[in-house]
Amino acid sequence: MMSEEDSSDETAKGDTQGRKRELLRTAERFSFGVPARLEYRDAVRSFLTHICEELVAQKILSERDGHGVVSAFVEAFNNAVIHAYEGNALGPIEVAMSVDPRMLQVEVRDAGQTFVPEDVPEPDLDALPEGGLGLFIIRNFMDHVRYEKRGLQNVLMMQKRLDTPTGHEPT
């Protein structure tokens, strides 16, 4: 570790970046459990928006990608409420987020009806569809998406890669 006496303009700049990385040195995890109602979505979305804004400020996530991550989460939560639980708050929705120097991950878990993502057709955008766009939005804004059954839960896992801060390779 560099001592303060070694500090110069260059190292001071490095320290600033190092401090930013300190925040993400290990994975930080957040979890929420809410009833399956659309009214509760924005409380969780606000938190995710805060995380994304922080990553944008640290220049490891573009503003566009930040909007994409939030959009994907909104669609995933909507799908759980509207499709998995068919609009009835029959169970909980759990949202787990984790962020580390390489990845932002968001999982949306429900205990409702399972669906087969492969059975959802790609929308024909030229036909200006009025529905069936949620999964398309999720897949196109995120880098990696996986839907699986874990015990009694359906889990939609979404990942977004983070950029490496200039001059710092991930360890």
Partner: protein
């Protein structure tokens, strides 16, 4: 939360959307749009300058109105799209389907050109 402000300027209706246009609030906009269609007001400008978030349900509501007014030779124009709603429009290629303007005045003037 979604606030909808309607202003009629001659044959053109300006709908200013404030807040979130999503699965929760899209039915509110649909009701407003049904009223427009029943009044045969088919020249519509959406002012998106105060719209913070849109989801696929919100997009569906706007596309639905677009299709309805087009059958009556009307149009829906979009003004001041920015932030998250802009990214959704780009992803869904709606920036090609809709006439986008930087502000409401430009959007209104395009009905006269």
């Amino acid at each position: 939360m979604l606030e909808i402000n309607r202003a009629d300027e001659d044959s053109i209706t300006i709908l200013t959307l404030r807040g979130h246009l999503d699965a929760l609030n899209a039915p509110t906009l649909k009701r407003e749009m049904e009223e427009l269609v029943s009044q045969k007001r088919t020249q519509v400008v959406f002012d998106m300058s105060l719209l913070e978030l849109i989801d696929s349900s919100g997009v569906g509501a706007i596309v639905s109105l677009f299709k309805q007014v087009r059958t009556s030779h009307g149009d829906v124009k979009i003004a001041s799209l920015h932030g998250q709603p802009r990214e959704i429009f780009k992803l869904l290629r709606l920036d090609r389907a809709f006439d986008l303007s930087d502000n409401v005045r430009v959007a209104v003037s395009r009905f006269h050109s």
